[in-house]
């Protein structure tokens, strides 16, 4: 960006072209991006060396720099406009509106995109009318559980108190989900507007953003946006001359996953250990400093301005019967187009993975898609044509969660994946209630035993029983959903568990204790590269010379092998394989 500015200046083109920073385009695997308006030409994977060529050819010459255009992985075609790329075609941007278009650090650009028109309309209505509009849109909380947002607001409005609060939950902790970060970085004013509307609807005077300290850019841009909104009177006393006053404050998390749970989050804002408490009383009745409080997710609040600006009907036009609107997914793992996508509810998993995601790299076989983070589950091939909505995912044994969607291929071991999530939960359990604190630890021990080849069928039964106990007896959602990854992997991939337990084999060759590296003497040309790279010195030369080869083949001593995989990555002849 600095280079663009410098060269444009040097060449006296500053009048003709301006350089603007924008939030995330959402298409992470092809970044960094540069977009040229008004032609709307999108260049991807731009490097410093390319800057001069773009200026010379495109800005001065009006020609497209072919080699920097995006290439569709399926057809090999070059595409110059963002909207023509398959990755974007099926998307519909409501929550991500403005992200990647406006400069998030300049309030005027947001205003130019229609920011605060929703608030203006809301302020011309009564609070009850605003809530009715939100109810009519059918929007459900985007943070995970999918509770109807309008009903939550109604509870808080009905609670009688002079002091009320709105809290925005930006403690996005699910590994693999980063939509909240992107929204806060790309269009922070949209979230602020949503919060002010919520404040007006329930009768609150103050709002708190609770954002992870791991997201410094989001925090910085939110700070700037709050200051700019205050400056022009969109926050503070007497907003838009209506007599309604509202202000926003920012609180940072300090690294605790459980703080995404609303009662834990409120405790954390109040300077305490972020531990959940039993509900009821719900925060809408007794929340921050014991006053009625609503806690809404970032993405939920980002949708609110759209509902008030365009109307509930427009929002509810897309989606399924019980899940309206769009949802942002963080598509990651073994998929070509890694990135952030916003699609209408009801889009199928197949569309998400293949049409938008561009399929699986290296022509590997799809195994499962994991949704809902550590509280969710895995869905297999047979579910690919299922429409995505809150209830359908739960019915199929997973959940929407905050929208992480991790694609796994044949090289991922599902027992290992379950163990990974259990390690996470075990680490993050706050320790308040016994089923979660001890249960997750025990489940992790059993999973570890199985991945090391020491599991028995009794262990598998114990695991299933334990997961039942933890789900039904834990205090908060963290514990109640802790066993979901185990349940869903056991139900879809029981054969993999049995392979680990009975055959002592890891079918995906992931679990180190259950696999070995083997050199195929017929393919090995005896170059010795693997031997030089081996940190354990376990590779030696044999006496066998394969036909057509000149040197004797190599061999791995499995008893000494530390299974680091260095040999397989140095072998240029594909002679080493995992078994």
């Amino acid at each position: 960006m600095e280079k663009f500015e410098r060269i444009l200046e040097e060449r006296g083109l500053s009048e003709k072209a301006t350089v603007n920073q924008v939030g995330c385009f959402g298409f992470c695997s092809q970044g960094p991006f540069v977009k040229i308006f008004p032609e709307d030409t999108l260049y991807r994977l731009v490097k410093l060396e390319d800057v001069e060529e773009i200026i010379e050819k495109d800005i001065v010459g009006g020609e497209v720099v072919e080699r920097l255009l995006y290439v569709e992985p399926l057809t090999g075609e070059k595409v110059s406009k963002q909207d023509d790329i398959n990755f974007y075609k099926k998307q519909r941007r409501v929550a991500l509106r403005g992200c990647g278009v406006i400069n998030p650090e300049d309030i005027n650009e947001a205003l130019g995109m229609g920011a605060f028109i929703g608030l203006k309309r809301a302020l011309s209505m009564t609070p009850q009318e605003v809530i009715d509009e939100v109810l009519a849109s059918g929007i459900r909380g985007r943070g995970g559980a999918g509770f109807p947002t309008g009903r939550k607001w109604q509870f808080a409005k009905n609670s009688v108190s002079d002091i009320k609060y709105v809290v925005c939950n930006g403690d996005e902790g699910d590994p693999g989900a980063f939509m909240d970060r992107s929204i806060l970085e790309g269009n922070p004013l949209g979230v602020i507007e949503g919060m002010v509307i919520a404040g007006y609807a329930i009768g609150a005077q103050n709002g708190y953003f609770y954002v992870r300290a791991e997201y410094p850019t989001a925090v910085k841009r939110l700070r700037i946006a709050i200051a700019q909104a205050r400056e022009i009177g969109l926050l503070g006393e007497n907003i838009m001359g209506t007599g309604f006053s509202f202000d926003c404050h920012l609180r940072l998390g300090a690294g605790a996953f459980v703080c995404g749970e609303e009662t834990a989050l409120l405790n954390s804002i109040m300077g305490k250990r972020g531990m959940p408490r039993p509900r009821p009383p719900f925060p809408a009745v007794k929340g921050l400093w014991d006053q009625p409080t609503i806690v809404n997710n970032v993405e939920t609040l980002a949708c609110i301005p759209f509902i008030l600006r365009e109307g509930a009907e427009e929002f509810a036009k897309v989606g399924t019967e019980r899940s309206k609107g769009t949802k942002v997914f963080a598509l990651g793992g073994k998929v070509n187009n890694v990135g952030l996508v916003e699609v209408p509810m009801g889009t199928t998993l197949r569309e998400l993975i293949y049409d938008i995601g561009g399929g699986i790299p290296g022509n590997k076989k799809f195994k499962a898609i994991q949704t809902g983070g550590p509280s969710g589950g895995c869905l297999t091939e047979e579910y690919l044509d299922e429409p995505i909505d809150f209830d359908n995912l739960v019915a199929k044994g997973s959940m929407m969660g905050s929208g992480g969607a991790i694609v796994m291929d044949e090289d991922n071991c599902m027992v290992e994946v379950a163990k990974f999530y259990m390690e996470f939960i075990c680490d993050e359990s706050c320790g308040k209630c016994t089923p979660c604190r001890i249960g997750t630890k025990r489940m992790l021990e059993i999973l570890t035993k199985i991945t090391e080849g020491n599991g028995t069928m009794e262990d598998l039964a114990a695991l299933e029983e334990l997961s039942q106990t933890v789900s039904t007896n834990s205090l908060c959602a963290l514990g109640q959903t802790a066993a979901n990854p185990i349940n869903s992997t056991i139900s879809h991939f029981r054969d993999e568990y049995i392979a680990h337990i009975v055959d002592k084999k890891c079918p995906a060759h992931v679990c180190k204790k259950l696999m070995q590296y083997v050199i195929d003497p017929e393919k090995c040309i005896g170059c010795g590269m693997c031997q030089r790279g081996c940190p354990a010195s376990c590779i030696t030369r044999t006496d066998y010379i394969a036909p057509k080869h000149k040197l004797a083949s190599m061999k791995i001593d499995s008893s000494k092998c530390v299974k680091c995989g260095a040999c397989i990555s140095t072998c240029k002849f594909g002679a080493i394989e995992k078994r």
């Binding site: 992470c28 695997s29 970044g31 996005e172 902790g173 699910d174 590994p175 693999g176 989900a177 980063f178 970060r181 992107s182 300290a213 791991e214 997201y215 410094p216 609180r251 940072l252 998390g253 300090a254 690294g255 605790a256 996953f257 954390s268 804002i269 109040m270 300077g271 305490k272 250990r273 972020g274 531990m275 400093w289 963080a330 990651g332 793992g333 073994k334 890694v338 990135g339 994991q370 983070g373 992480g404 991790i406 796994m408 991922n412 990974f420 999530y421 996470f424 993050e428 706050c430 680091c564 995989g565 260095a566 990555s569």
Partner: protein, 163 residues
């Protein structure tokens, strides 16, 4: 543990003072102290307790609850390896294992020369460039096991320490 010198004490008092209009400032105070000094030893907690009227027990409870707060000093360079799902699926575990092996410390520990701390991070939201690591906030995208020795060597060279 080292005694707190007068200048540091004054700064801690100043930090406590920053938030005196907030209803519940404890975590903000602790965050600032953590950022300033890299850790929050018991002596500092006692000063905060005197200043805010919150008991040391409660402060200690908060410090030990959140992973951002540390009771012991961190290394000059904090290497954070992301083990979020996307990074994990793409080999983040092998990357952190390699750092562990080269530095001779387990995740969460600091090298004896005080140069490096190795931390396992939960998703830093950089899933598009997995597996990712951060060193003092700088993100290194798409790490491979093979790059690890070079990264460590770079930082050691910067400090004039033989690799």
């Amino acid at each position: 543990m080292a005694k707190i010198n007068e200048a540091a004490k004054q700064q801690i008092l100043e930090i406590c003072n920053r938030y005196k209009d907030e209803p519940t400032p404890l975590i903000m105070i602790l965050s600032d102290i953590q950022n300033e000094y890299g850790y929050i030893p018991l002596e500092v907690q006692e000063i905060v307790s005197k200043e805010t009227g919150i008991s040391v027990a409660e402060i200690y409870g908060v410090v030990t609850f959140y992973s951002f707060f540390s009771l012991t000093p961190k290394g000059k360079y904090v290497i954070g390896c992301c083990l979020g799902t996307a990074c994990y699926v793409k080999g983040g575990q092998q990357v952190i294992d390699k750092f562990s092996e080269i530095l001779g410390i387990a995740p969460g520990e600091t090298t004896s020369d005080g140069l490096f701390t190795l931390d396992a991070l939960r998703c830093i939201g950089a899933c598009g460039i997995a597996p990712a690591i951060t060193i003092n906030g700088t993100v290194y995208p798409k790490m491979s096991v093979g790059q690890v020795p070079q990264v460590v060597a770079e930082y050691k060279a910067k400090e004039g320490v033989p690799a």
